[in-house]
Amino acid sequence: MSVGAQDPSVSSFYVNDSFYGDLIARFQDWDHDRHGICDPVERDGFRLLLEREARFLDQHKYDDWLAMLTRECVYWAPARPGGGDPRTEIAVMFDDRRRLEDRVFRLRSEFAWSQAPASRTVRMISNVEVFEYGEMDRRMLRSNFIINEFWDNEIRQLVGWCGYDMQNIDGRWLIRAKQINLINCDRCIRNPSIIL
């Protein structure tokens, strides 16, 4: 059986040396003005996509959210400003497809005490920029976020910016990689247990 035939929901063959290498290369040095796309139609299309993603997460529509990601995807919140190297450093979160589905499975269990009761969130997305990077069926996005989270009778804000590696598959833009850069990623955070 070829490696490509494996189901990434069940086994993780794709998170290999070349995957890490490509990921690190893509999330370095990409958001330069010279790569920026100014076309308002394209930009608005991606803005809608990110707003829909935020809504799915606010509404806990995890299946819809997972369907926005490629089968072989990664969800990465570095523990060091600038990203660091996930091959040699711990990240706040570094999930492949299967671990993301683990994360959703846990949140849906009745026993995730850190989310019982579940946080209520309202996400604000802004400063969306679109960048060319390599092939025409790929784009990199950058957006700022504020997640307003109500949990344990308090409202707090999780703040940062996201980088997205997007791929167009059969006419539809999907998230290959989402990098979540919390501005306090290298400090102690209380109950980091929602999907960012």
Partner: protein, 442 residues
């Protein structure tokens, strides 16, 4: 302030005040986080001369560094002039620290190098009293740096006592007996620091507090034996055990639950990003050696808990940092390995990448639930008339708990004997006179 320590700490229970009374917390910052050895940093965080990290010794801001003469020091991060912190960065490399307020400049030995317009001082500005305060005793055991302000404390090696064996074993399973600290999962919780230390050898909570983790880790497994699944059925009858080691230290050893063979550790690893890739690649390239290589990425099933603030578990170095009576930071430093003996070669990158992913699992899907429970203990303890916290599991049952020839105490995995014993050491330190001192370079 005087407390009735005997009344607060009884044979099988402790008073809620240990967790809620700000006066007790303040005394702890002196008598525990000053009066006994406290873990402060790992040598791999400051490998080069002039490297430093900023940490806290109790509530005291300190700079842990390797000075220009390669001496490990724990300097108070406090200008001797007006008290300003000198260094506001997490880490770096510096021969000297200049106060951002008036510009007093200190060598990394702590000595005052100079001040602006020294002719404005009538007293000798070179007087020793203007050199930075520092911990009078700093010792390292195999890379783990500890400090104390207590000149009468035993030497570090004696204070660790029988704990050196599990520490040695935890290190020596890695190439060259060496690990390197590499970033962390960092948590804050609204609860007393002892709630985390109480938890560190607690085998009783696993099946309930971590139920979502256990179910998650086994959702794709036919054998349902992944992670800590061995807790599911009669854990007290298994070969794993908890051991009180003296001086407040305790040890939970789950290794006897494993198959004693290369790959026995990896066999219970649950699903991690890149797992199947590494398995297939290693078996293809290295044949039978694949199992022992994979074990290097596996999470070592031990909890090596060194009073009051250090816990080695899995491959993590977890540090408890008190903030206030009801707030604590818990930092899970990750560790990676190096190819010290040159026999790992090309596999090193894949092992470390997989080792990062195995380490991220428990903090993300297990620790968050414990922390929610710690916070809710702190809430529950606001019921001031309901005064007692029980740590009586295993207490008073004949032949259940065994005192060994070396004075250590062994019990079944879910027993709370480790809590009853460590809190006696806590009480001893809290009761006793605590002669603390600082030193300054002459």
């Amino acid at each position: 302030m005087s407390h009735d320590w005997e009344g607060l700490v009884q044979e099988d229970r402790v008073h809620r005040a240990l967790y809620t009374d700000p006066a007790i917390f303040n005394a702890e910052m002196t008598k525990i986080f000053g009066g006994t050895w406290v873990y402060i940093a790992h040598e791999s965080e400051i490998p080069n001369v002039n490297d430093y990290v900023t940490r806290k010794l109790g509530l005291r801001p300190v700079i842990v560094l390797r000075d220009s003469n390669n001496i490990l020091r724990v300097l108070y991060n406090r200008c001797t002039h007006r008290g300003t912190t000198l260094c506001r960065h997490e880490k770096g490399n510096a021969r000297a620290f200049q106060c951002p307020y008036h510009g007093w400049n200190f060598l990394n030995s702590g000595k005052l190098r100079g001040v602006p317009w020294a002719d404005g001082y009538s007293a000798d500005i070179k007087d020793e009293k203007f050199n930075l305060a520092q911990a009078p005793r700093v010792e390292s055991y195999r890379g783990f740096i500890f400090a104390t302000l207590n000149l009468e404390a035993p030497i570090l090696l004696n204070w660790l006592g029988p704990m050196t064996k599990p520490i040695d074993e935890w290190l020596d399973r890695n190439p060259g007996g060496k690990i390197v600290v590499c970033e962390a999962n960092r948590f804050k919780y609204k609860g007393n620091w002892k709630l985390a230390y109480d938890n560190s050898s607690d085998g009783y909570h696993v099946i309930y507090s971590h139920r979502s983790l256990l179910e998650m880790e086994n959702r794709l497994s036919d054998a349902a034996n992944k992670g800590m699944a061995y807790y599911k059925n009669s854990p007290d009858s298994l070969a794993m055990y908890v051991q009180y080691m003296g001086n407040g230290h305790h040890f939970k050893d789950k290794r006897p639950n494993l198959q004693a063979r290369p790959g026995g550790l990896w066999a219970i690893e649950s699903t991690h990003p890149g797992k199947e890739y590494a398995e297939a690649e290693f078996r293809r390239k290295y044949g039978e050696r694949a199992d022992s290589l994979l074990d290097l990425a596996g999470s070592e099933p031990v909890n090596i808990n060194i009073f009051p603030n250090l816990s080695l578990l899995g491959n993590h170095i977890q540090v408890f940092q008190p903030i206030s009576v009801n707030e604590t930071d818990a930092v899970w430093y990750g560790t990676r390995i190096e190819d010290v003996n040159g026999d790992i070669g090309d596999a090193l990158g894949t092992i470390n990448a997989l080792r990062m992913r195995t380490q991220e699992g428990f903090p993300n899907f297990g620790e968050v639930d414990d922390l929610a429970n710690f916070e809710q203990i702190q809430v529950g303890l606001q019921c001031e008339e309901d005064e007692w916290i029980y740590m009586n599991r295993g207490h008073g049952i004949p032949d259940r708990i065994k005192t060994n020839a070396d004075g250590t105490i062994t019990a079944p995995a879910t027993d709370e004997v480790f809590m009853r014993e460590y809190i006696k050491e806590w009480k001893r330190l809290m009761k006793g006179p605590t002669p603390l001192s600082i030193k300054r370079e002459p």
